[in-house]
């Protein structure tokens, strides 16, 4: 797949994800309304809620993710090294310079976000600045800029927010069933618990599909390759990935929803995250595989 196909497919998928989200939440709202006896008023609530979160995630998800990650905006005077690297790569890629953010953390990681190249941000941990050589940092920055250029960042960040709100909604409905369940007889309560199970069964493949849409492994490989094409030095990114792989430190501000944004899994798959749900987020191709591909370029 070339970057050009990737851009079209990403834009299509973004609309598909937003549309699917509205349809599904409304459908679930309808079912919930019928069963719980709230009636059709709940459909309206679900429709408004889903449309609102879809549209607002398109415009505001990047700021939200930046806020969740505790990233602070920097300019040329604060960190000339990173500013120059990003500026030069943007000249090479022919895109406008994104805003640059730093996360105070000694772990090495980075991600890109934004709905298009004109409204984009790249985020680095301070560990990137202190522990990577210039050409390694450039490799990482080129990988992130490729995500922006290919419109990967738009799709990925919208999925973060929509998956987050589906989880929130499911949680809300489950609690509401539980609350109502207490006042009824046991028989009814059993049926309700089964229903919650059913809802989760409906929801989980949806969540899985959304995530897989956002983070096919090809996306990472493609960003690696386009990044290498931009710097003309694949070894830079390969060395950086090696350092990241050797690093056992976790990134504190990352959570399961934002994990797939990062250049390399910030959770490092520690023991407690290896549940079936966490496996859905095991989104990055094996780092050794990526290094091997870069080395062979």
């Amino acid at each position: 797949m070339t970057p050009y196909n990737q851009i079209d497919s990403n834009k299509r998928k973004t609309w598909a994800v937003m549309f699917l989200f509205v349809v599904l939440v409304t459908l679930i709202g309808y079912i919930f309304g019928q069963i719980s006896g709230y009636g059709n008023s709940f459909v309206v609530f679900a429709l408004v809620f889903s449309t609102f979160s879809s549209v607002s995630s398109y415009y505001f998800s990047d700021s939200l993710v930046l806020a969740i990650s505790g990233a602070k905006k920097v300019d040329k005077s604060v960190s000339p090294q990173i500013y120059r690297a990003v500026e030069n790569l943007c000249i090479g890629a022919g895109i406008s310079i994104p805003q640059i953010y730093l996360i105070e953390d000694t772990a090495i990681n980075a991600f890109a976000t934004g709905r298009d190249p004109k409204h984009a941000a790249v985020v680095f941990t301070t560990g990137c600045l202190t522990r990577l050589e210039d050409e390694e940092l450039e490799g990482v920055a080129a990988h992130e800029l490729s995500h922006i250029k290919n419109f990967d960042s738009r799709l990925m960040v919208i999925v973060v927010i929509l998956v987050g709100s589906v989880t929130l909604l499911a949680d809300f409905m489950a609690r509401s069933f539980m609350f109502r369940g207490r006042s009824r007889d046991d028989n009814k309560a059993n049926g309700i618990i089964m229903l919650i199970g059913l809802l989760l069964i409906i929801l989980s493949p949806l969540i899985a599909i959304l995530i897989q849409l956002a983070i096919s492994r090809n996306r990472e490989h493609l960003a690696d390759a386009s990044g290498a094409l931009l710097t003309r030095y694949p070894q830079g990114l390969a060395n950086a990935l090696e350092k990241i792989a050797a690093d056992k430190e976790l990134l504190e501000v990352a959570n399961k929803a934002t994990a797939h944004l990062y250049i390399s899994n910030p959770l490092k798959n520690q023991k407690d995250s290896v549940s079936w749900f966490a496996n859905l987020f095991n989104t990055h191709p094996p780092i050794g595989d990526r290094i091997a591909r870069l080395r062979s370029m």
Binding site: T2, R84, E87, N88, L89, I91, G92, A93, G94, L222, A225, A228, L229, L230, R232, Y233, P234, S296, M297
Partner: protein, 183 residues
Amino acid sequence: MTTVLLVFAIIAIVAVAIWLTYNTLIVAKTRVQESWSGIDVQLKRRFDLIPNLVETVKGYAKHEKEIFENVSKARAAMLGAKTPNEKASADNMLSGTLKSLFAIAENYPELKASENFKELQDELSDTENKIAYSRQFYNGNVLDYNTKIRIFPTVLIANLLKFEEEQFFKADESEREEVKVKF
């Protein structure tokens, strides 16, 4: 009657084909021109940094007259260059003379220690990186455009409408680094 209709249909199809092709070619050509201005900005920036640099070096190394002359010659050549080819060779000449200027600076520890000199050196090497990156972007666009006008059937329309190949901005042979990228 049918033949007349057929002829009209063919003329209409050809006209639409020419129209669409013309538009794509214009877009590609505009991209080339736009990315060329990107290189120009960086070349201009470097051009403006040089007098400052020469003055600073002169302050510590008055006797190296020959090198100053070479730098100002190369700078003048830059001013005269118009086409990408000319600019590329003038730029390479300038890079060469600047290299020898910096080599001379090695012999003057006071010059090397001067804050002003260090700053200029930083600025220049940053500008050189930027020239390299804008050259890469420009050459990518030229490649795209040149390929378009050489591909059949576009080549017929391109010849008809007098679209000509654009020049690449060539790097100095010694600077070139080959990297193969496989997808």
